[in-house]
């Protein structure tokens, strides 16, 4: 018995966690999960009934095997006639089951769009090969506050994600918060999310988008509205960089593609690095954010994430060290 329980545990373990549609932490994910649970139960009942009927038919065939058809024919005929009378009942059950599912699907769909008419915080998420550009509508200046690869959501408030793609089709998928929605070049898709449970979650690109599709993850943090406002204010502020060798090397070797507000770097091709050290991960969830990983990534991006658009920059080890030290101060 214990062994059997132990065998089931790893299976159930997959149902929870930071990236699971079976562990909803927001209204939209909850609506989808309810629909899933209902379909699971209805399909479960259908499965049991069909498997039971099949077993019974097999048992009956086995029970009367080799019997004289004239002797027992009358009996089986009687049973078959009774079964035929049950047919309208079976048809009714099928129609009822399908009606329940269609109705539930209709209401789940309505629930996903329930917030669409009301105003919400606007956040632009743009898929690039292979990272996420994230921009918050600044409630003060009404401009955009840009960050990358980390999405913060205020608890209990609806956020309207404006999804787009810069190069190829990507798909935004944070299963604990909402269902997946494609990001398609040349058009924008809207996804409303209302997160309820505090904590960190993980999102992932859900549409194959090239070599490093698997390394295109997204950290999602649901925090209290006050903490969210404080975080957004910190992101809005320009960096306060220390001048030095690292800053000078960055300006020559990195600033063509990366921006650091307040330090004169204004490239837009790569992720905004104004507060890079305050993030949880590096290179779209590929590495955790540590001083050592920063330097490793700067020195050998093509070895860590082969095919990434970040070029191999020929820096001396001393320069790579200086740039990593500099970036680690950008909190």
């Amino acid at each position: 018995m214990k062994a059997r329980l132990l065998a089931v545990c790893p299976l159930l373990h997959g149902c929870g966690g930071v990236q699971s549609a079976l562990d909803p932490g927001g209204d939209q994910a909850r609506a989808l999960f309810s629909l899933f649970a209902l379909m699971m139960w209805v399909s479960g009942v259908v499965y049991v009934v069909v498997a039971g009927a099949l077993s019974w038919a097999l048992w009956r065939a086995w029970r009367y095997r080799g019997a004289d058809s004239r002797a027992d024919g009358g009996m089986t005929l009687r049973i078959d006639r009774r079964l035929a009378q049950l047919l309208p009942l079976a048809a009714g059950a099928i129609i009822l089951g399908l009606t329940v599912l269609i109705t539930a699907s209709f209401f789940a769909d309505r629930a996903l769009f329930a917030t669409r008419a009301s105003p919400a915080l606007e956040v632009r998420v743009t898929g690039h090969q292979w990272w996420w550009r994230i921009q918050y509508r600044d409630p003060v200046s009404y401009g955009w506050v840009e960050t990358a690869n980390e999405l913060h959501l205020p608890q209990g408030q609806t956020v309207r994600l404006v999804l787009g793609a810069a190069d190829v089709i990507h798909s935004f998928w944070v299963p604990n918060v909402a269902g997946k929605l494609d990001m398609i070049p040349g058009r924008t898709n809207l996804l409303d999310v209302t997160a309820r449970r505090l904590g960190w979650y993980r999102g992932q690109c859900a549409e194959f988008c090239g070599t490093q599709h698997a390394h295109m993850a997204l950290a999602v943090k649901v925090e209290s509205p006050a903490a969210f406002r404080a975080w957004l204010a910190a992101q809005r502020a320009p960096a306060t960089p220390a001048a030095g060798r690292g800053a000078a090397v960055f300006q020559v070797a990195c600033a063509a593609c990366h921006a650091i507000r307040g330090a004169g770097a204004a490239g837009r091709a790569g992720p905004d690095l104004t507060h890079v050290a305050a993030r949880r991960s590096l290179a779209a969830g590929t590495l955790t954010m540590t001083r050592g990983n920063l330097q490793g990534w700067i020195a050998q991006p093509q070895a860590i994430k082969p095919g990434t658009s970040m070029p191999q920059i020929p820096l001396t080890p001393a320069d790579a060290d200086a740039v990593a030290t500099y970036l680690a101060t950008l909190r």
Partner: protein, 156 residues
């Protein structure tokens, strides 16, 4: 005799189709050129110039490094890279040298890594072969790409 001829034709057609597979072949990993081309016959040139993937990457870096600010579609005279006339020579190493040395204070030799310079040279040398339709197609495809210090969003 007839079947044999048909067989040869089929083999030729398959070979022609398979040849298309090589046009995008790429090595993924950290082995990259760290030096400039040595003359017009450098054996590495073909790897970039004859490869659609490398040329397309050159196009992306072309917009990311902001080259289109001066060498855009409506550029005129020496800045027009699509007219097939090369002021400083049109061979691969000459175009490469023009990118590196002839941009004054922009100093692409230190600001752009070697592999990207190879891809840019291949892309720029490919430009004169672009038909107007292809040029239009590329500009539609690259609408969402950042251009140097500007990015106006995925939709324009």
């Amino acid at each position: 005799m007839r079947t044999q001829r048909g067989f040869v034709a089929a083999r030729f057609a398959v070979a022609l189709l398979l040849a298309g597979c090589q046009r995008e072949a790429r090595d993924i990993g950290p082995s990259l050129p760290q030096t400039s081309p040595r003359g017009a016959a450098d054996p590495r040139i073909g790897y970039y110039q004859d490869n659609v993937y490398q040329i397309a990457q050159g196009g992306r870096y072309f917009s990311w490094y902001g080259c289109a600010a001066c060498h855009g579609e409506d550029a005129l005279g020496v800045r027009d890279l699509g007219d097939g006339r090369w002021r400083y020579g049109g061979s691969f190493n000459q175009v490469f040298a023009s990118i590196v040395r002839r941009h004054g204070s922009l100093d692409y030799a230190t600001r752009v890594p070697p592999e990207q310079l190879w891809q840019l040279a291949a892309y720029v040398r490919d430009l004169p072969q672009h038909t107007p339709e292809k040029r239009r197609r590329l500009s539609v495809d690259q609408v969402g790409e950042p251009q140097g210090q500007h990015w106006s969003g995925p939709v324009r």
